[in-house]
């Protein structure tokens, strides 16, 4: 069957030529040399949209609905991307984000138990970095030190940013040490060794208060 056409050497197609009505005199349409254009020319232009009061009202309803949905707590923002540089305005931004999220508390009876969110995350960032911390013990520490830290902040009126919970812990301990004016740096070093924070120390970027330790950092980070 396959050899029938090839054997004769003539131009024969698998379907009958007359049935598809390509008469003798005509040739096939020219073969295509390049991909078809992206938007071919339209011979028939489409009809215009139906205007009128109803259509306009529907349009207004639709746009209002979309706008309203954006403000409702159902609109979930993705977690904020990690900042490249800590900025002063971050403390103002973080408050805005979490405002709408906690507004809505669903009726938990209608939802499976596993969907219950135990504790709303205070800050989009800390959720991300918190999940990065492998040992669970540190999380417990975070829960306790949160309150103390808030109090300290109110007292000292100093540093506002919370790049990571590790640093929160260290900051808090550091402030205590400053007030006591004890061997702050020695204790700090001890902590550092205790909690295996060798590598994460390099995240801590505050050169003002730990000018001394920055050299120590570089020594350790050489590994």
């Amino acid at each position: 069957m396959a050899g029938r056409g090839g054997g004769r050497g003539r131009r024969m197609m698998s379907f009958s030529v007359e049935a598809v009505c390509i008469n003798r005199g005509e040739s096939l349409p020219p073969s295509i040399q390049q991909p078809t254009p992206l938007f071919p020319v339209m011979e028939q232009k489409p009809l215009p949209l139906t205007g009128g009061e109803e259509a306009e009202y529907l349009l207004a309803l639709k746009q209002e609905f979309r706008g309203a949905m954006k403000t409702l707590p159902f609109f979930i923002q993705p977690t904020a991307a990690k900042k490249d540089v800590e900025r002063y305005s971050d403390k103002y931004h973080s408050g805005e984000q979490t405002d709408g999220v906690t507004d809505w508390s669903p009726e938990w009876k209608r939802f499976p138990k596993e969907l219950r969110v135990k504790k709303p995350c205070r800050n989009g960032l800390s959720a991300v970095t918190r999940s990065d911390k492998p040992p669970l013990g540190q999380n417990n520490n975070n829960n306790k030190t949160d309150k103390e830290e808030v109090l300290l902040k109110l007292e000292t009126l100093q540093k506002k940013e919370e790049p990571s919970s590790e640093e929160e812990e260290e900051e808090e301990k550091k402030k205590k040490q400053e007030e006591e004016e004890a061997d702050g740096e020695e204790e700090y070093d001890e902590e550092e060794f205790e909690e295996e924070t060798d590598y994460i120390m390099s995240y801590f970027d505050n050169g003002e208060e730990f000018g001394g330790d920055s050299d120590g950092d570089m020594d350790e980070a050489v590994y």
Partner: protein, 531 residues
Amino acid sequence: MTAQEVRLCGLLLREHFGEVVEKVGTHLLRGGAQNLRIIIHETGVPLDLVKKSLCVLVQHGACVFSSGRKGAGSPTEYRTSCDRILRILRYPRYIYTTKTLYGDTGELIIEELLQRGHMTMSSTVKTVADRLTQNMEEGLCMDYGEVSNAFSKLVETHFLQRSTPATPGTPAAPVSTAPPSPESFPDCYKVPHMTLVGRGKRQLCSEDGEDQRNAKRAKMDSQAHGDEGICWQVNFERFHLHFRDQAIISAVANKLDQTSSEIVRTMLRMSEVTTSPTATCTKPLSANEIFRSLPPSYNIARPIVDQYLTLLVDDPMEFVGKAGESGGGMYVVNLHRALANLARATLESVVQERFGSRSARIFRLLLRKRHLEQKQVEDFAMIPAKEAKDMLYTLLAQNLVQLQEIPKTPDFAPSRTFYLYTVNQLPTARMLLQNCYKTVANLIERRLFESRENKRLLEKSQRIEAILASLQASGAEPEQLTEVEEMITATEKQQLEALRLHINKLDSAENQVDESIFLLESYINSTASTS
């Protein structure tokens, strides 16, 4: 779930609930039933956000959960379906319909319920009363009683229904593939007895009288209103029946005249409660009943009504059929046939607008005559052979027309085979429906693209509007206002105008495509239920 449907659902979720919910939702759509751990693992979204997204999806009815397939004790599985999410396209139409039927109060009730998924009656009434009071003049307040009345009316006519009561985690629940529909519960349309007395409150009240009322209301808010746990949701199916009836009535009005459409409207109104949603035709109504139920503004004599009914029955569209002779003639409205005819008209108009009226003539011919050879097509359509051939091949390439081979000999030799052209209405309707979904997805993408391109300009105009508003509120001079307005240059104003025009056009186009989607979907669903 076809690829086009999933893409469109993803875009709708992104616009209304954000990108996180979009990611989780599309993953569920593509993957079928999954439990929480699999979702977290495969989407890579953090646990908290996945939980929140699932809560949002369940709240809006887009996702259902059930105990796992392996029996009690296995983790709950979540399942999404495209249908519910695609309804989002039709929300403006639902709200507008309620406005025409029940006024502003009804409109706001439906809007609140659509925005929040499901809510208890008391919270809905309070929110709507507050919103209405905002828009009313100073000193007037919306009474809760009025809003409750509107709510009860909506429930009576079945536009609102109770959500399925909560039964999560009961080990005795049977593991069935289909979750129970709200209609399977007997109290579906019963308004609960609740104690809710009061008036809507305004956001900014400075009068003493209002303050006293505010104080009273604060106490009342903490009370239980007697309807805790009973959540209400919008009954989309009822709205669809209403839209279907409207489509039939307007089709009759276009084809025949206003009086015939009034007669059909009366017939449909009388059979609203007696006809089930999937019925092929309404219950038979006698001509006497129809005559008595016509609206009193139509002073038509009885024989004229009979003539109109005969005309309707004889019409080739077959909207109305005769079911018997008792009572002066028993008449039914053929719902499924009407839907099929409306879908057919949609297909024909699509072909006409895309390929021209002569191709449409060929298409209609093939719809009527079923199978035709090439020669017969040319003869019946009265189109010269060469052009007819071209048009047929274009339609064939677009898959609107199919080729059927009928062999004379078992070896299908081309010279001894009949090649017949044919059109199958149902598969063509399905294909066009997918095209519609693709169209809407493209429109949304284009609109998002336009907004992204001009983001800077839009933000600038928003900032300037905010500045203007604050200046006006604090009573600034006209010079300051003009100075601020001039911060936008003339070319930027033009660009903004053009942008607004484009976005409005794209939005309007989405609404219009949704009307075609509704017709085609109704037709396809009606054939599915009968077959």
